[in-house]
Subunit: 512 residues, 2 copies
């Protein structure tokens, strides 16, 4: 039996509780249970799923104090942040319960029969149905909101898909507590055994076995590019390939217009310093590169202004020893790059075993363009300020970047034409475009898009945050000439659920 | 310079016109033109795309006589079928023009700012935008409706994505004529050069180069399982993986309930004989296997009744020599299988060089289950009637089948409970469930779903026919705190396009 423990980021010492590494037999059993649960769930009314999600939210809320303490001991994120994350987690569970109850997420489309058409048209009614068991891989940086009871799990369960979570080994006790809340909620609300399962593992064997288990129908992953790509490739090579919705972080470029740069560079420097160091820079939406239209001197001054503000903050904790060592090593390699200046970060005022200070770098556009290492994400409180010779060159470099989760534009009224052209270019490069703000702090609202072109995700057509995250785990089915009593409720003539439907090309809640 | 020709299925002789095989340089140039066209198109109003699609429909209609004659010479499908297919093709182009004009396909979701929320919520507005240049691979069996100006092209262009088509080598002159209509329509309506391109190739090099061209953002494919899977694997292995929407045909199982079997087996036999031989069985929705609850004697009698009706029909033409030879060979291998009886198809009344008669096979459920070859698609007028010992065994075998585009249930009122349980099982196995009908004849209506779990497609979450086919080529983007004048029109406060939007969780056409 192999076991592992978490590490306390404040002390660097291993936690006391030993967690058993999931075996291949554990993975097979979980996948089989999920498949059985899916068959049982298909026949059940969706209302049960909504009660299940709300009960899970209530149970997490009820264990708030211990949950936050447990997560804090494993991640060092602090009580304020973790309480906020728990708020978000319960809000997500309840929001998806509301979406299930509201019912329109099945995207019902009804094309009535037309016997007079040539050839005559039968009655065709289409809706979305659950895809089947989903594997969820949770990241290190959101132990609750993207954790075992986080957004991926909530949206998959809301869709009607049983979930097998591979918990991140950085915070196994937090994962176990969340799984327990879900399991108890499932039992209380009469859900079949196997709608939620947790596999704890540090090694890769269990992860590989879960992705290749024939019962699994989709994977949701949040984490690194290398991890997400490996899972994507493995899933694509299965005898029956399955979709992988991997959200892998990104550069999140920020573009500052000439007008905004002259008018309020101090204010923007302050905002960037906050956004870069928030959560010790361990957000997939951390601004990793900032393009400024500047002379050499004004660009350096701007970088220095951010660096000064960053240096004034106490170094934050990295989530685990691997991230801590990886960032340190990557910054050492960066120091050897010609044309890149590193401001701050030399003097490590250690405020904990895994502490890392913020680091601001600056370079010119030609060096940025010629240096691939600068276009890779630094996971931590690090950002590079790129001095660009003209406003036009910002639009050009925007067109050359890879995909990102976000792109940010700082622009004033005078910058409007430039900003409009830049926004058009960025629409092809990012999942969310932020105006005069900062990309960190992904609000959970209906319209949120948290995704983007590769390498931000492996599936640019979808989101992992917001109401439409449920769409990942659904597939359309059409019912042709089906007797009304045998149709699923969302498609019945009387519209018993009272949902919004597209009937003969017209949106309505009327019977059809 | 390599060239190739079509083959006339009636005579088996090569056509007179030589077509140049696209070179790698041709592929690279087409991909680069498509990328340039995409950049130009992004700034243009969608109304132009609608005019373009309608002009293409008008031009195809204007050249109906020559187009049908050209396609008939290359496919042997006959004027009646090809005229119907052209009707469908122009209807599809016009339907997608209507969808562009109506505008709701962008799925606008608006979450207004809420400064009183904790943390305060910014204004977030989300819509779908075009994914970028799309590669379309057309099949042999629908030279028009799934051809160069077919549904994949129409839905990609409607989405705002330039298209590079790899035309099927069975009908190059038909492909060229359709491309010419699209090009002329694009010119007439002011579309940028490169919104539509055609590559003609018999070899695989051009196909591979198109799938791996860095400019391409998605692939739509209709054809064989081996071809679709190869393209899926190649696209997944790109440095930047892209989605492949491959529709690869399937078994399309038919299930007959005990009540329906006693009450109207003769009528069903007639319907199946029609559906199996329609288009010489070269439809991806041809019923390839029929499960009947029967004694050995009644099952054999049913198979014989279908075979008799099939034998009474003149053999149809296969589309090309490869399909003709492949089917013959596959049937010869089938003759060697123990426990499988083949009815008809021995005596080939040749009505043309590439003619093939219909073939009905019958076997028992145990043999079907134990014989993998019987669960593979026979592309042609071939179907296997499986004698099942009980009504319950039909539900069991339904649960063991791989994914299909369609599944069909014949059931009467007395079969209702059984049919309901079977339908629930089939919902997980097929993209469309047909009641008391036949799966061939995919009507082009808003609610149509033409897709299904692997191996029917590589992307069960989408459809290649119907209004929602456009969703394949779109991805969501959110605009946060964006000045109204800089928002795309579908998201502006006044709702200038008058489209249906989800505002703060409520469907409305009101301003927001």
């Amino acid at each position: 039996m192999t076991t592992f423990t978490a590490v306390d980021p404040r002390t660097g010492r291993p936690g006391q509780e030993q967690f058993e590494e999931a075996t291949l037999a554990d993975v097979r059993a979980a996948a089989a249970r999920a498949a059985r649960a899916f068959r049982a769930w298909r026949a059940a009314a969706p209302g049960g799923r909504a009660r299940f999600l709300r009960s899970a939210a209530d149970r997490l809320e009820a264990s708030r104090a211990t949950l936050v303490a447990t997560a804090d001991g494993e991640t060092g994120l602090g009580a304020a942040r973790l309480n906020g994350e728990l708020d978000r987690t319960t809000a997500q569970l309840r929001a998806f319960a509301d979406i299930v109850d509201e019912g329109s997420f099945v995207e019902a489309i009804i094309s009535p029969a037309d016997p007079s058409a040539k050839p005559p048209r039968p009655d065709v009614r289409r809706m979305l149905v659950p895809i089947g068991p989903v594997a969820v891989f949770t990241p290190s940086n959101f132990p609750l909101a993207f954790g075992v009871a986080g957004g991926d799990t909530a949206s998959a369960l809301a869709a009607g898909c049983p979930v097998v979570v591979k918990g991140h080994p950085s915070h196994p006790a937090t994962s176990a507590a969340c799984a327990e809340a879900l399991r108890a909620a499932g039992k209380e609300t009469g859900m079949p055994d196997g709608v939620i399962d947790l596999l704890q593992a540090r090694g890769l064997d269990a992860a590989r076995a879960l992705v290749t288990a024939p019962e699994m129908r989709a994977v949701a992953f949040t984490g690194s590019l290398s991890g997400g790509r490996a899972i994507h490739d493995l899933a694509a090579s299965r005898p029956e390939p399955i979709p992988v919705f991997a959200e892998m972080g990104s550069l999140n470029p920020v573009f500052i217009a000439p007008g905004a740069f002259s008018a309020r560079s101090a204010e923007i420097a302050e905002g960037l310093a906050n956004s870069i160091t928030l959560g010790t820079g361990q957000f997939c939406t951390k601004p990793g590169v900032v393009f400024v239209p500047s002379t050499d001197a004004s660009g350096r001054a701007f970088a220095a202004a951010i660096a000064e503000r960053v240096a004034a903050r106490a170094p934050g904790l990295m989530l685990n020893p691997q991230l801590h060592a990886g960032l340190k090593e990557k910054l050492e390699r960066t120091r050897a790059l010609p044309g890149v200046e590193i401001l701050g970060g030399n003097e490590v005022k250690e405020s904990g075993a895994l502490a890392r200070p913020g680091v601001i770098m600056t370079t010119d556009l030609a060096t940025f363009t010629a240096t691939p290492a600068l276009r890779e994400e630094y996971f931590g409180p690090v950002s590079v300020i790129v001095r660009c010779p003209s406003a036009e060159s910002l639009i050009d470099v925007a067109g050359d970047l890879e995909g990102s989760l976000t792109a940010t534009i700082h622009a004033d009224a005078a910058d409007s034409d430039w900003a409009s052209r830049l926004s058009s270019t960025l629409t092809d490069k990012a999942g969310r475009i932020v105006w005069n703000g900062y990309p960190t702090g992904v609000v959970v609202v209906w319209g949120m898009q948290h995704g983007g072109p590769y390498p931000a995700t492996t599936s640019a057509g979808h989101t992992s945050v917001g109401a439409t995250a449920i769409r990942r785990f659904l597939r359309p089915v059409a019912f042709q000439s089906t007797p009304d009593a045998l149709l699923p409720e969302p498609l019945r003539a009387a519209n018993p659920l009272g949902i919004q439907r597209l009937v003969d090309g017209r949106w309505t809640k009327d019977p059809a």
